[in-house]
Symmetry: D2
Subunit: 250 residues, 4 copies
């Protein structure tokens, strides 16, 4: 049994430091690095790539909406062509730093509102998948299982990597619980670790609205930007290792 | 005898159209495409790459200072590390659009104030050369001959491509005449064509401050953003062709 | 009988020129000037304010979404607090240029996707109205009649100025026809002029889906950024003047 | 005897938090708030203005170069007209938040590289002074004594407020020691407090290159973004109060 632990990172911008990259990188096996649209200035991207290299962490691109002030968390009505061009641009920008360091682009995972929009808007999902395919059809796309986003990634012929969120509550329907619902966010590291374990070992977890929900996962997302992010990563990792789960990049 | 004609292009940004790409691309053999820092939004970059492909024009990256409002024409006190990261980022962003279209990155030529700073600031020049080398040591760098920029490009082991400016007046010293000097800018297409011809056939041209100056050139820059840019390109091209000069990308 | 003619303007950004301000300003009685979020860099704002002053045109603020690359035409999921802060910021930035020229802020009219969102999203409308009120409760807000935007502007105690669009087709319901519908956009200057006249003299116009629709208007919007914008403005103005309608700012 | 303590603040941008505003505001008597060019997004500006209001701190504008990624710390070759427009824009943007809260614009103090450039480039200094004067000739400008910046502020008829830096070493010439010199930066709170006291009580302080230097000050700048910024502010304030110096806004 094996699993990947991923974290969004490289989101600092110039003097503005964001997240806890230095503490998170030793604990995860893959990172999704920003490319300047929602965070991640060129110098900070370079720094994040060097950190990933030092820790032997697999590096993926983390394209977002062009909304630095909103950190890519506000949905934008981009036309599919605009999504395609924005994603391609961001992949390329990150790829240059990887190429300069002799690393390869390991995967792509959209950020924030772009990820969420892709999960329910087929045209957005398709534009993302087409951009990845146009850049390199061998690069896998990290997706939320059971969404049009997963469907479109597959239809484009890309390898999909299924993602689950131990820190987020799920609904019985399989969807992530909206952040507005009480209990939608798990902040206790031990509880997150317990959930991660169930997800990996049993393929299911308790739903917020009662009962259980199936959770298929090849990678678990750790939110390194939470105040307790590093603690959560530590607890999840420890629990998985103690249960004999191999933690390594997909 | 042969020469390349190059033009800065792809500098439109969203709804903001800049230059005369549609008229210029059929007349030149290489273009330098912006990557978003001084112009060139993702969708407009994609459009410019498609146009270049349609016309069989060689495509280079055209990295500039991060100054959209100033169009990269205002010198900025970037540390060499910042220049390196900014150039690498911009090369990568453009490269993604080329890769998606099955094209290769043909060369790099810095834009505006970054180009001019590289000509006289060794650290800036070195940072640009190192960024190109880190991305791909086979990619040539377009340089102004006789500058520290040429020296650093060579020192990095890059192929340099010498550039001359038929629309710009030269001083006897070999430098471009400052734009503030009367007569520093040649706007008449026939005069630009005559100068282009002398540069290519004789390797020299009249200096603004008297006498003549040696001009070594493997590529001539045409300013497509001038109101008469397309006319100049037409006249230069015609004069060279009539003189039996082969016009093709370096 | 009197009417105001307004145009969106001052949307150029650095070297990027947008619209036809020089031709439009002599033909309209009020302009809505951008403040940098979707267009309008500081130097170009200053230029537009000077032009408005020279032509004696009333100047309003034209706040948009923070989306320069999308020209503020793409809806964004901003929280009401974010709308409030963005609108207040943009009003203030423009106001400084007016104050420096001894002019007053005549009105506020949101731009593009922000305007459209305000017409159907009450919270957005309220946030805009609250921002204007907080800055100066005497400043009127230009609104589309019959919308929640009009309601919220009134509820905030602001004076509302009703706007109509001679170049846009209306539906029988009173709404603007979506741009995707054939015939939704009137490009012929004479036809736009004829419609403008009906709107002002009869308070009604033909609907795209049959029959007629009531149109209440204190100001008519002319799209100066269309290729034929100045022609339309000319034709509308001429038709109104010949019919004895007084054209002056509200 | 009285003195003002000022701090640069309001430089957070969207999710990116910068500095220690919450700890610094209770300790100083005036703050200089960013307006978006080097930091300070609209929502964070609003937040900073509310914080200043809650603490009764005088609020000035803190305009910088348009260089968010470089935090306004990199000199840019702006034409005087561009400086004028950029400063006016930023003053206006901040002023709107003050107006909305019933506060007045207390002063203007340029940020980072713009401040430093104004100290030695007369045209930049004049452009800043003209912008402030155009907005409101009653608003004072915070200046470094003995510079062309002070001269131009006076020539424009503005009230100047002399500033000194207890955390920065001075040269015998009266200039601030370049940051590259060892010892140019005082990080120990007690030492900063001792220097602040000498500056206020004796009007002089030890020079880094030997001897002493006259320091005229009506306001002392505290760097709230340093890790020990709040400690320094505390120590300086305590030392001044114990010496019977009245601490209040100029």
């Amino acid at each position: 049994m094996r699993i990947d632990l991923n974290a969004d990172a490289g989101e600092s911008y110039g003097v503005f430091t964001y997240g806890h990259d230095g503490e998170i990188f030793p604990l995860v096996t893959s990172v999704n690095l920003a490319s300047g649209f929602h965070g991640g200035s060129p110098s900070r991207m370079r720094e994040a790539v060097a950190l990933a290299k030092a820790h032997g962490v697999a590096v993926g691109a983390h394209p977002g909406f062009p909304d630095l002030v909103g950190f890519g968390r506000r949905e934008m009505a981009l036309a599919p062509d605009e999504v395609y061009a924005d994603v391609l641009y961001q992949i390329g920008a990150l790829h240059a730093f990887l190429k300069a360091e002799g690393l390869r682009l390991h995967h792509v995972k959209p950020h924030g509102a772009l990820y969420l929009k892709a999960c329910r808007d087929r045209e957005t999902a398709r534009a993302i998948a087409e951009a990845v395919k146009a850049f390199d059809p061998e690069v896998p796309l990290v997706v939320l299982p059971g969404t049009v986003y997963e469907e479109e990634a597959k239809r484009a012929g890309l390898r999909v990597v299924l993602e689950a969120f131990p820190e987020r509550a799920y609904l019985r329907s399989g969807q992530l619980a909206p952040r507005s619902l009480p209990g939608s966010w798990i902040t206790d590291p031990q509880e997150a670790a317990r959930r991660a374990l169930r997800m990996v070992l049993e393929g299911r977890v308790e739903a917020l609205d009662g009962g259980e929900v199936e959770v298929r996962a090849e990678t678990l997302c750790i939110h390194g930007d939470n105040p307790r992010g590093p603690e959560v990563a530590q607890a999840v990792r420890k629990a998985l290792e103690e249960a004999g789960v191999e933690i390594r990049a997909f």
